[in-house]
Subunit: 234 residues, 2 copies
Amino acid sequence: MNDRMIPAARMTGHSQRGQCAKRISILDAAADVFCRQGFAAASIDEIAAVACVSRQTIYNHYREKETLFVAVVEDVMNRANAMLFSVLSAFPDNADNLEDDLTVFVIRLNKNCICNHDGKFLRKLVQTEGERYPHLFESWRQHGPGKLTTALSALLARLAQKGALIIDDFDVAARQFVALGNADLQMMTLFGGTPSDAELEKAARNAVRTFLRAYGRPAADKAGTQPQLAALSG
Amino acid sequence: MNDRMIPAARMTGHSQRGQCAKRISILDAAADVFCRQGFAAASIDEIAAVACVSRQTIYNHYREKETLFVAVVEDVMNRANAMLFSVLSAFPDNADNLEDDLTVFVIRLNKNCICNHDGKFLRKLVQTEGERYPHLFESWRQHGPGKLTTALSALLARLAQKGALIIDDFDVAARQFVALGNADLQMMTLFGGTPSDAELEKAARNAVRTFLRAYGRPAADKAGTQPQLAALSG
DNA sequence: GTAAAATTAGACGCCATTGTCTAAAACGTC
DNA sequence: GACGTTTTAGACAATGGCGTCTAATTTTAC
């Protein structure tokens, strides 16, 4: 409902098997309705109406409600995965200004992986239907937060080796980094509205400042340069 | 299903209007089923079966499914509220060993307010049905996390005034304190199994250590006394 | 012990939803 | 323009859950 209003745009991206316009339209509508209503309360008729598609067409592409549901989850997870990888690999190799770099990273992470449509969908879904589909929960854990903390742990280790950080336990630090990044947005993240860009930036700044106060090289102390982050594309 | 297996035990606590054994049994069963299935998928028949009660009895006490649902939420929220107050007021007035005190506090908080049955229920519920019942979400926010961070902010201000902490923004610090306390348990907290006591203690220790590294008086630095927390009742 | 209240089991109507089926219509391709 | 495929609208049975009703039974109160 929020992202990608033009279904055709996705055909160019990854033309997986049978990704015709109808399928995409159905997947998007189903994601919307499943997310709003939950699996049980979501009705095929409503999905068909939102997708501007006949009910029979849905049953034509996906044998039953369950099939459609797992297809939706798979689709959303693939996109979220790609986005996470993109954000992770955008972290600059040669650290220029650590505080700025980390702040931009947190902003990107929150904006594109946690507060975005897919992130909210997956979190809500896992909690709503995770008990019914344990493999769904497990898959989400491994590909979502698991991958994030693993990659983050490696990143922190790299920074510590350079002497920019002083960390005893990289995994703990990685989890704390994520937790701090979400501290100011938890109410938003858990449910409801998306935070504004200003809120995102302030939250990221608070998080990074505290993180660096705990793990930063004590030499730099504070003061120093007032962080100036101009372009935070995407 | 987990806590209070003996319904009669609650009659002594707060004998609110009409809190007979049947009502309590129904409320408990309904909480269980609503939590597992969500509102839509939960069936009155299953609730009746779990409560070992006739379906008609449920309709006798609660006019319809919706009525039962809000009664369940109210009930769980009341208990969670009382527990949160209890944990908050258990923080020692005259700080002895700050690190130990905070650690015990985090353990109690996580164990009795976040990882316990009611906490998980409310969090799951708010995310599952919050969109349908905005007032439910709002009420939970005010009485749950809202009250917690407010009280925590006051506590941190008290500690800062004593010189034990150096904090510029108490609200931010309070949110970060909560976030750090949950950092190691987020996967558990979000869904699934309850962490063991050892995990709870280690998570609390990690959280408090990082928090004090960021906000603690730099004089004490580290080393000092190895924290020794013996009794952490409740 | 008896009367009143609460509880039970089961049947019932009603409604929404799922998934199937069919005939008509739209679409694309040659 | 003709043909095969896809889509559509609607009817259809089957299922299951909600909420009501009733008669029998248990519990409670006096």
